[in-house]
Symmetry: C2
Subunit: 331 residues, 2 copies
């Protein structure tokens, strides 16, 4: 299987067709789980659920379960808890980064307060754990608690990925593996904890490679897409002095003058749009975007190879389409 040369780009809606009914039920589960008899918790939950993400992680979990013939009502609850853990992470991320917008919508810290964001993230995560405990099956809990620990270490790693022009591709790889790939891998694995252990391992590896491709593509989009399609300003990572793969790959090929312009940007607390546009152009010119896209494609290919071990069928095809989606999406 080759994931990187699709005839037609896969839309998320088409990918989700084989598990559409279960995915619709995930919204109901999310509502049930975050319900509280305390008004402020209700208000914040309502805002979060209104934002309706793409449910990409629940999609992965349900497709993985279907691919190994283990789709059941419990998987809907598991899919909801994985999305909750994802939302909890976003809420704390936005608080840590002081972000005002997420997918073009105001963040919890912006609408309510920083305090509410910290507490609400804790609430959502605790609720997810309660739900997992109630399923009386230690395996999903084992996977998800390991994953959330990895994610927090990833967040810690991210604090180092600022300013430092000598930030290495190895450090970047460790960072995105912990921050992004771990949860996608966990979602896939949790869909199959009750299946043949070999298939469970296949899906865990598939999810890791997919997650790497997904995050690298995300970081590329910051260099290539304009505000209208991403819902956030292009070049935001640079503005925040965040070092990602396109820049890491381009730096060794830059001229001394170009490198100095990058260094100057990193020294400037609030860099001007022109300075950002300038560095974005250099990164592209010196092949940073191309190199990063190539790396994303490599991970997608490795993920596609894993899929060959799964039974053929609609779910496996949809998982292959997820790879196309991960690397070809524009937002």
């Amino acid at each position: 299987m080759k994931a990187t040369s699709p005839l037609a780009p896969a839309t998320l809606a088409s990918i989700q067709l084989p598990i559409r009914a279960e995915l619709d039920a995930v919204f109901g589960e999310l509502g049930r789980i975050v319900r509280s008899d305390f008004p402020m918790v209700e208000d914040v939950s309502a805002h979060l659920l209104r934002m309706k993400g793409k449910l990409f992680r629940p999609t992965l979990l349900l497709l993985a379960a279907r691919a190994v013939d283990r789709l059941s009502p419990v998987k809907v609850t598991l899919a909801a808890t994985v999305e909750l853990i994802h939302i909890a992470t976003l809420v704390h991320d936005d608080s840590v980064d002081h972000s005002a917008l997420r997918r073009g919508q105001p963040t919890i810290n912006a609408i309510f307060s920083h305090q509410v964001a910290v507490i609400m993230g804790d609430y959502l995560y605790s609720r997810a754990i309660v739900e997992l405990v109630n399923l009386d099956d230690p395996e999903p809990l084992r996977v998800m608690s390991r994953v959330t620990t990895e994610m927090t270490v990833g967040e810690m790693r991210e604090l180092e990925a600022y300013d430092a022009l000598d930030y290495s591709e190895d450090a970047y790889t460790a960072l995105i593996r912990a921050k992004t790939a771990s949860l996608m891998s966990g979602a896939c694995e949790v869909g199959a904890t009750d299946a043949d252990p070999a298939l469970r391992a296949v899906l865990r590896r598939y999810g890791t490679h997919l997650g790497m491709a997904f995050q690298i593509t995300d970081d590329v989009l910051d260099y290539t897409e304009s505000e209208r399609t991403t819902g956030k300003p292009s070049g935001l990572d640079l503005k925040e002095h965040k070092i990602t793969l396109p820049l890491i790959a381009a730096l060794p090929r830059m001229t001394p003058a170009e490198r100095e312009r990058v260094a100057a940007l990193m020294r400037t607390p609030e860099p001007e749009d022109d300075a950002i546009a300038d560095v974005i152009e250099s990164v592209s010119l010196r092949g940073g975007v191309e190199a990063a896209r190539g790396r994303a494609a490599e991970y997608a290919d490795r993920a596609a190879e894993e899929l060959e071990a799964l039974p053929a069928g609609r779910a496996r095809d949809a998982l292959a389409d997820c790879l196309v989606y991960a690397v070809a999406r524009r937002s």
Copy 2:
């Protein structure tokens, strides 16, 4: 059993005698659990462990286990996870409150950053859950995940307990039950999840009443103790516009002029020390401190009554001493 008229005040060191060896082992477990191969996590963990709290919650857990004849090495690990969850909560609390000091020591958000505090709290909590999952016993997990959810709702409730002079004793009771009593209750219950269910329930109720007495006493100390003994400024709650029981109890008995001085303080973003001292005096004069102390004593008595259902012995005596400690301590 009556807990409120001790012949000699109980010291924590004497209370901890029956479980001293296990308590020493808790430090080793804490170190093992928070170990990480990422330097920043190691640095922050080292700082947290250096602060060495009083291990009051592990003490409760181990005494509860001993009281029902269930002390075992697993209980040491459980005691460490309960302390970790407590520390995680403190780290997030300090970040939410922007506190610079905790027990006279600089907080994580003060030494490192607000970002590190949010992430580190998440890390410690996740690690505690991993540890609980590894014990292959769903009962402690069930208790602790319920408790942490309650604690986050308590934190949310606390955000409302500011400024509002009409904040009721009922709202205050719900707040401290969720914020403080839930974890102490959970610690006691987790010590006995493998014991007779009736004894488990006794210890859960004992822990709840103890926790209520403990927190009310904490709130009283803010009105009665000077900086040197508490390690934080007396009247800090008032300074931060936090409404606690001494004030709630005193308000209805205050003169209109006194009430107006309280209202004025609440309207002042950074009240002067004199204005705070003035309100502290009114609260004491109008019986707020005495009423709150009375309420703490009532809870301690209810907790003491629960203890009568436990087998007599050193551990039960020590649990009774915990009640004396909770209401008679000066810091």
